[in-house]
Symmetry: C2
Subunit: 204 residues, 2 copies
C-alpha cells in the first residue's frame, strides 16, 4: 500500500510506520534496517516528546479536499482529494522555549546534495524563520553511505543563492562536511539532532 | 461545497477562504461579515508573515490516506481517506525567536465556554509545550457577541483540572474576563493577538 508523491517520494502512512517501528519493539537493533529518514525522525521526535526533551512534530501532509461523503452510522469518507505542495518545512516545535524548524531530505547521490530537493517556498520559509530568530536547519541523508548531516538554515541559503547567481545546483559532500554537522545513528534516540543544536546555539 | 467534521465544525477549503477574503479586497470593512474565527486568524497570520512580524501557520488538516490512484498524465487522486484527530493544537510558529502555539475555538453559548471543545491530547500538548517554556494559549470566540479572548495555557489547564476534580465542565464568561485578555477585531491585522502576548510575556 505504498504510493508515491509526484516528486517520487514514497508516502508512508503514519500509523503503519508506528506499528512497524514501535520503539517498544524488543527486536529493534542499531542497524538502520532500511528505515527512511522520516521514520527515523518520527521515532526520534516520539522519544524526545516522551522524555520531555523537546516537543517536535511532523506536520500532516497537506491535502486539498474536494469531495466528502457522509455514510449513515459511520465516519465521513473523503472520496476525492489531491496532494498540495507544503508552504512550510515539515517539522517544527519547541526546545527550551525556542522555536525549532527543519526539513529533512534524502539523496541517492554520494558526492553532492542536489538543491532541487528544496522548493522555493521552503527556502522562503527558512529565510523568514531566521529573520524571526528561530532555529532553522535541514537534515540531509545520503542513502548509500547512510551518512546524515545537519546543515544550518543560513548556510543552506548561501548555497541556494550561489545557485541563483549562476553557480552549481548542488552542495558538494566536502562542503557539507565542512559547514554541516554529522549526526550519528543511535538507538534511543535514533538521530539525536538536539545534541547537535545544543552545541551550535546558545540556550538560557 | 461546505462539509462538516464529525464534531459539526464546518470545513473551509483554504484556497476558497483566501479567494473570498483576500486582504487586497477593497470592499473589506471592519465588520465581521460572518467570518469564522479560522478565516480571521488565517488573514491575521498572513498579515504577520507578509510584514515579518511573526511566522505562524495553521497546520494542515490531518488525514489518513487509504487509497490513491495515479491517472496517466494527471495528478495523483486520493480516492479514500478519513479525517484524523489532530495530536497537537492547530496553530504554531515563531515570534522573536520564541515558540508560539495555540488553539482557536468558538462557542454559540454566551455565559460560558464548554471545555468539551478541547480534546484530551490537545490539553496534554499544551501542558508539554509549557514544560518546554513555549508560549501556549487558546483563542476563544463567543459567536453571538463576537467577543474574542486570549486565555493563557496554564489558566486553561487550571480550569481543565477543576473539571477533572469534579468541578464545572466549562469556564464562565466572568472567569474568562478576569483571567483572559480581550482581543479587539481590527482591519489589518484582523485579530492582533501578538499585541496581547507582547504585553503578557517578556521578549528580549
Amino acid at each position: 500500500m505504498n504510493f508515491h508523491y509526484p516528486n517520487g517520494k514514497r508516502y508512508i502512512p503514519k500509523t503503519a510506520a508506528l506499528k512497524t517501528n514501535s520503539i517498544k519493539n524488543k527486536n529493534d537493533s542499531y542497524s538502520n534496517r532500511g528505515m527512511t529518514l522520516e521514520e527515523d525522525l518520527n521515532l526520534t521526535n516520539e522519544y524526545y516528546r516522551e522524555n520531555n526533551i523537546a516537543i517536535i512534530h511532523k506536520k500532516p501532509t497537506p491535502v486539498q479536499i474536494v469531495h466528502v461523503e457522509y455514510p449513515k452510522r459511520s465516519a465521513a469518507v473523503i472520496k476525492e482529494a489531491y496532494f498540495k505542495q507544503a508552504s512550510t518545512t515539515d517539522y517544527n516545535g519547541v526546545y527550551k522555549g525556542k522555536y525549532i524548524d527543519f526539513e529533512a531530505k534524502e539523496t541517492k547521490l554520494s558526492q553532492s546534495f542536489p538543491l532541487k530537493n528544496f522548493h522555493e517556498h521552503q527556502i522562503k520559509h527558512i529565510s523568514s524563520v531566521l529573520k524571526q530568530n528561530g532555529i532553522s536547519f535541514v537534515i540531509l541523508r545520503f542513502t548509500i553511505t547512510e551518512d546524515i548531516y545537519l546543515l544550518e538554515g543560513d548556510k543552506l541559503l548561501t548555497f541556494w543563492n550561489r545557485m541563483l547567481d549562476g553557480g552549481r545546483k548542488s552542495i558538494t559532500i566536502d562542503e557539507i562536511k565542512q559547514y554541516g554537522h554529522s549526526i550519528s545513528v543511535g538507538y534511543h534516540p535514533r538521530l539525536d539532532y538536539i545534541k547537535v543544536i545544543e552545541k551550535i546555539y546558545s540556550f538560557n
